[in-house]
Amino acid sequence: MVKVNKMPLVIFCLFILTGCWDRNEISDINFVMGMAIDTTDEDKLRVTFQWALPTQFSTEGAKGAGSQENTDFSIEADSLTRAMSMLTEISPRTPVYSHMELIVLGEEVVQKEMENVINVIDREFEVRRTVNIVTAKGKGEDILRSKTPFETVQSTGIQKIITMSNQSSTFRDVNLNDLFIHVADPDSLAYTPVVETVAQSGLEPTETGGQNSWIQVDRVIFFDKFKKQLELSAEESKAWMYVLGKVEDRTVMEIPTDKGMLVTSSVSQKSKPTIEMNGDQPSVKYTITEKTSIMDKPIDMTKSEMEKAIEAYLSEKVTETIKKMQEENHDIFFLRKAIRQQYPQQWKKIRKNWPETYASIQFEVHTKVTIEHQNALRKDKIE
């Protein structure tokens, strides 16, 4: 009798438990891997979506992926939300953004529409906080439609350039989480790497008829509350990375000396900022340490001379960049945040006059370089 009474309840539960409302068949899903956002002359957004063919997700598909094309599709709409919904008009499968690897913001978008675009992305739960974000030099669409070596999905290729292969230390990888954190902080600038297509002869492939441009990432662009502030050159970006202590391992430096060119490869690098307050006037000392190996050197240069030459070169480059940023009032070293964190009482007083305070800060740069080894596989160069 008891079993009979329970039956309607069990059947009722089974009906609800099947959860058919939110079912998503894998064969009905379109995995959007990347998205590039640009503006048009009519002040609309042009959003380019990139998705990979499902066969490329399988091991077999990946092996033969060279012959297959990805799908890039551009949509013009008044807003990003509208463009995302219009994607469904041409896609026979439901677009899913949870596997997205890259968002490319076109150069004009970061000047006009960045806040609106980022706010839409922020509200879309499917877009994970780990998605990398970059700014394109020119049109984002061109970036997404170009090629990267080895990778058939361009978004994956750029994502790997940014996160894995970086040995030039001219940019830092930024994901949505990093961007949101910097944008949310009232005393911090946000930044992204800059991506552009290049057609240098040295980068051209040997086969004719193939692509004639490649992707390059070698700079950083800064924003203050979604407003573009400045774009660093590759050299300034590297100096910025030294100040932050974020130089990647195996970063190569070419250092001109009196005796010839010295080529180093970074083993590890750190930076320690020390902020002191004299009343309401801060002074900042950066102690930059680097362990490096020598890749090439002038014949008659001793280890001690090399270390001094590297230290002098680093000090000069970093000091130059700091001076320039002071003159242009760009707090790319996040000093406002650091002072607020270390000297909250003084910060309340100086925050109103920050540009004047920043311009008058005394900076000291101390560099300490240790050569770990000299890669001395050969005694001398071939004459």
Binding site: I16, L17, D22, A184, D185, P344, Q345
Partner: protein, 366 residues
Amino acid sequence: MRITHGQMTALVMLVLLVQIYAYAPAYMAEHTHQSLWIPLLLSIALSAIVGWTMLIVSEHYPNESFVSVLHKVIGKFLGNIVAGLYFIYFFILFIIHSQMIVTTFKTLFLPRTPMSAILLLVLILALYCSFLGIEVLARASNMVLILLLATILLLIFSVIPEIDPSYYKPIFPQSSDGLLYSTLISFSNYGQIVLLSTIFPFVNHQKEKRKRSKVFGGILFSCFLTSMVLVVEIGVFSPFELQRLQYPTVELITLIQIGEFMERMEIFLVTIWAGAMLLVIGIFFTVSCLTMTHMLKKPKESKALNILLIMIGFASILQFVPDTTNLITFIYGQWVYLSLIFHAVLPVLIGLFFFIRIKVMKHGKS
């Protein structure tokens, strides 16, 4: 059938482990920024005092139900009023937890599924739990507790590399603004330790010695562990970003990336959390039913009463907290203050009455 001290501890630990990191981090960060460790410590200390008081009172009357203990400590009339209040308290917690899991799943994973469908499932499970009784729930809680503890520890250790220590500076707050409200928020979670009093009568006192320190060790461990989640969230998101996030812990899970092979863990971790949450909902509903049964002096649990209460629960959720906004407004606008009655005022009252009664009894004997 009776439960052990360990099972009782597991039940209370589970209750304390499921809620505080759901919505509270954003509200605490908004009021105390990076110094949210202070209200967390304060509320843990307050909860320990309250829990200790309730445990001592309960230990004095082993094998007596919570309602009987209240009758003996503060008299029948007042005892009934306090028992009635605690019934409302457990019922509200049952409603809060039910709607919390429903809105979380609806917002994050099942946007097209009707809320009432998920809610019905949750309530049917709660009803089933109440039919099984505290003893079965206590046994189940042991396994779920281990899973949940492992999940929270995995979460904490996985995101440690993402922490920026500078987000904790300045360590001490520059003013006491928001400190009280933040303490109330965390106390409204950790104060649920008063549940001890209703579960304690189920412990088999004849077979086991008192294990007060172990019970408290486990409970404090739960409090500190969940506090660590909040502290880690400050370090990962920064106080400014954290206060923007509606579901910070789910967002924290999305950051877990161990090598190339371990990511997109949220569905697994949230599912484990949901399992624990469902058990906690069952615990609160069962305790509500038990309190009501004891108040009505029924010799046995009445299934009809449980069904009636679940229907009232269903109607109350749809009427008063039908969505996330309403739920959050209720928790952070009213419940953080109302819960003080059950976490502080009534325990102090019970403790005082108990202290006076014991002193009087001792004095009488001497």
